[in-house]
Amino acid sequence: MSEHLPILMVLVPLLSAPLVVFIKHRKASRVIATLACALSACAAWTLALQMSSAVSYPLGGWRPAIGIELRVDFAGAYVAAIVSTIATFAISLGTRGTREDVVGREMFFYAAFLMCVAGLMGMVVTGDAFNVFVFLEISSLSTYTLVAMGKERRALTAALNYLFLGTLGGTFVLIGIGLMYQMTGTLNAAAVSARIREVEHLRTTHVAFAFLAVGLGIKLAVFPLHQWLPGAYSQAPHAVSSFLAGTATKVMYFQLIRVVVSFFGVAYVFDTLHFGDFLLPLSLVAMFAGSLSAIFQPSLRRLLAYSSIGQVGYLTLALSLGTEAGLNAGLLHLGAHAVTKTALFLIAAAFIAQVGDDRLDRLSGLGKRYPLLSLGFVLGGLSLIGVPGTVGFVSKWALLEAVLAGGRPWLAFLILASSMLAVVYVFRVVEVLYFRAPLANAPPLARERADWGSWVPAGLLVLVSVGLGVWSELPSEYVATAAQSLFGGAR
């Protein structure tokens, strides 16, 4: 049974979606959905912990290059474990924050959510270029709909804008895959990387990589192509915004790493194409612009969305170094940011559940009223800044080491300067929470513990982020082996 783990991770959520629609029972669909995510998470964790080398699972029984092969290496298992765990946390919020007319039809909401999870998990484990596009489309399509389920009418426009940009991104990826197939004649990752050597000098190969990079860049919300992210994350229902914040951009980032490392090869991408020199300025701009605009946002979730754009800047910066240490830092930051940002969005959801709106002026003075939630936000915020003792610090430290090893100390200073901006917007919220008198004419506030479901997952994730901050050898060793196996000492 255990050799079927790679496909089970994807199959369980994917098949429980039609099951939920078939059963059409409102309460049962939520239980099935949570169970499916939990099972997928268990499969991912067992695979991650017990695998000694990269696992290959030939679908349909065909030889890898002929049929489609699921290829899970350490990094893939790491990302899959994170995605499925965060999905389990997010789904437990259920249909909070969705529109009224979803009431009779929760089963479709859960089906779309499960398909989104299956899509993302599929993207992480598959080793075939076109299969990546198919799972990309599954997850994107369900994401557009889930975002449109938000309470306000602005969710609809956010979803449609996301659809246009997302589909353009997907189609760019499709063009990239097509050109890559034309140049190498095969779609399997290992086969492509073997054949890419002969066609490295051809212009079509350069253009293929360019389209793949731009397509994934749109899905990754790299700076100039990020317009869809703030609206989508701030208008989506709670479960969806928490899930997306933690996983969507992270899986696309992992896919960009796979394209750079497994498909095209690091030597080609960084030496002939000088992709690093192109990606570095973009990520610096993203880091500063994202955090800067986060400072001036009126509502909590928009603030967190813009901070996500800033954090994506760190991810792409790590990749642009083109060294194994950079990759290690990128993967670590991927995990750290996933945990932290999901915790923060869950807390924002808990606030909205109590206060009805996440505009900052509505949250003033909640520190006294909801001490635990506010403390959770403070710890999450600290992890976002990268204060020692939180998992954010571990990944920022790895990034600093990678940058210094790359011989660019001025870059290290820029990283720290941009995390100063994070200090500003986190403590802006802290000030609103703790040091402002509550609104005189605010409606009466429900007791904090009234709504278990919304803050227990948040609390757990905050504890994880602080715990991993101190006992950091668990993630960093695993990620180091993942980066080493992925990188194979190419540079």
Partner: protein, 392 residues
């Protein structure tokens, strides 16, 4: 000869695309989209891609045009105003196009048999797929067996599309008319009284011919489903054609009639059943010791038979889900009661906006809750609690 036809088709396609861009009347534009798909299906046939041509014709020309027309009946059918050429868009387009053209410079000649792309896996499929799977139509054998997971994912996409449309538009179905189905206009059309079409239902000629043609379309759909192994066809095309038959029924006899005969609740279940059949076949293969979707294990003695059964079952699952989804999507669009919210139009200077009210049909209570744009702004200006006061 072939290049001559290709040139003509490309010119036709380009003309259609350009006119589509400039056309302000959206009904005409949707027709042009249908023409574009049909001509591209022609081009695919010329390029010997028969399966793709069949699907493109069925899906592109058939379903997407019908959906666009259904949408236009619920929204405006004329584009607001002719926007001048937007230079940033042109810049992006020229840049992307330039990159692609730059990419084509090193491509092998069009149709060159010794190109790399025909080497690797294509050579394997052409040489070995008859022995390993034994289906004349290579595309179906690759589609369903070699790259079975792709099609499984694709079916997932179709399922998500169905679920999404149900989630988005399933909310407000117009109530089924009382017992006696008056052939008149149950659906208050959003058009001013004078401009209402004579509904298709009063056209006896169309009703009788439709009654005659429907069985043949359904029969053809089943033919395409079964014929997938031998010629162009398969689950997708069959599902779409079956759906077209039901859509024709819905168009001619009215969406209420369609919903009465094919209730959406049952359709939603059928939609899920198809995907579960496909997944089920894969899981059975796993239980019998092979990998997911390894049909060979069904009949260990000679695996190609296993593949036949596997592919047939899988194609059946695909056909079921695709037909159910396409019907559901059409039914949801057709039975969605238009909200009759007055159309908000920005005047030339983008500042104040004038409201062109479609007609004076009173808003239905639920629409009050949805608060169309105009009322909201009026309230906002008046300073009372605007949208932000969401009932917590």
């Amino acid at each position: 000869m072939e290049t001559a036809i290709t040139v003509v088709l490309f010119v036709l396609l380009l003309a259609t695309a350009i006119i589509l861009g400039r056309q302000r009347n959206l009904f005409a534009a949707s027709m042009l989209t249908g023409i574009f798909s049909l001509v591209s299906a022609g081009l695919f046939t010329v390029m010997e891609a028969v399966d793709v041509a069949f699907t493109e014709a069925a899906v592109g020309a058939g379903i997407s045009t019908v959906l666009m027309l259904a949408t236009l009946s619920l929204t405006e059918d004329v584009e607001a105003r002719e926007k001048k050429i937007s230079w940033p868009a042109l810049a992006v387009v020229v840049l992307t196009g330039g990159a692609l053209i730059y990419g084509t410079l090193d491509m092998p000649n069009f149709g060159d048999p010794h190109a790399v792309v025909h080497g690797e896996i294509a050579r394997y499929y052409i040489d070995r797929s008859w022995d390993e799977i034994g289906l004349p139509n290579m595309v179906t054998s690759i589609l369903a067996s070699y790259r079975g997971s792709d099609t499984f994912g694709e079916l997932g996409v179709v399922f998500v599309a169905g679920t999404s449309v149900l989630l988005l538009l399933g909310g407000r179905r117009s109530e089924l008319p009382a017992s006696g189905e008056s052939p008149g206009h149950e659906r208050p059309s959003s058009r001013p009284p004078g401009k209402r079409h004579a509904h298709v239902r009063e056209m006896p000629v169309v009703r009788t011919v439709a009654k005659v043609m429907l069985p043949y379309i359904v029969l053809f759909a089943f033919y395409v489903q079964a014929h997938g192994d031998f010629g162009p066809g398969g689950g997708f095309q069959a599902g779409v054609i079956l759906a077209t038959a039901f859509i024709l029924f819905g168009l001619v006899f009215g969406p209420q009639e369609l919903v009465r005969h094919v209730p959406p609740e049952r359709l939603e279940r059928i939609m899920a059943v198809g995907l579960m059949i496909y997944g089920g076949v894969g899981v059975v293969a796993m239980l019998l010791g092979g990998q997911f979707l390894a049909y060979g294990v069904f009949t260990p003695s000679h695996p190609s038979h296993g593949h036949h059964y596997g592919i047939f079952m899988v194609e059946l699952g695909v056909g079921i889900t695709v037909s159910a989804v396409m019907i559901i999507i059409y039914a949801t669009f057709a039975t969605r009661r238009p909200s009759l919210a007055p159309q908000v139009v920005l005047d030339a200077e983008d500042r104040c906006e004038t409201e062109v009210s479609a007609d004076d049909v009173p808003l239905v209570p639920e629409e009050r809750a949805l608060r169309s744009g105009a009322d909201l702004l009026a309230e906002g200006a008046a300073g009372t609690d605007a949208a932000s006061e969401v009932p917590s």
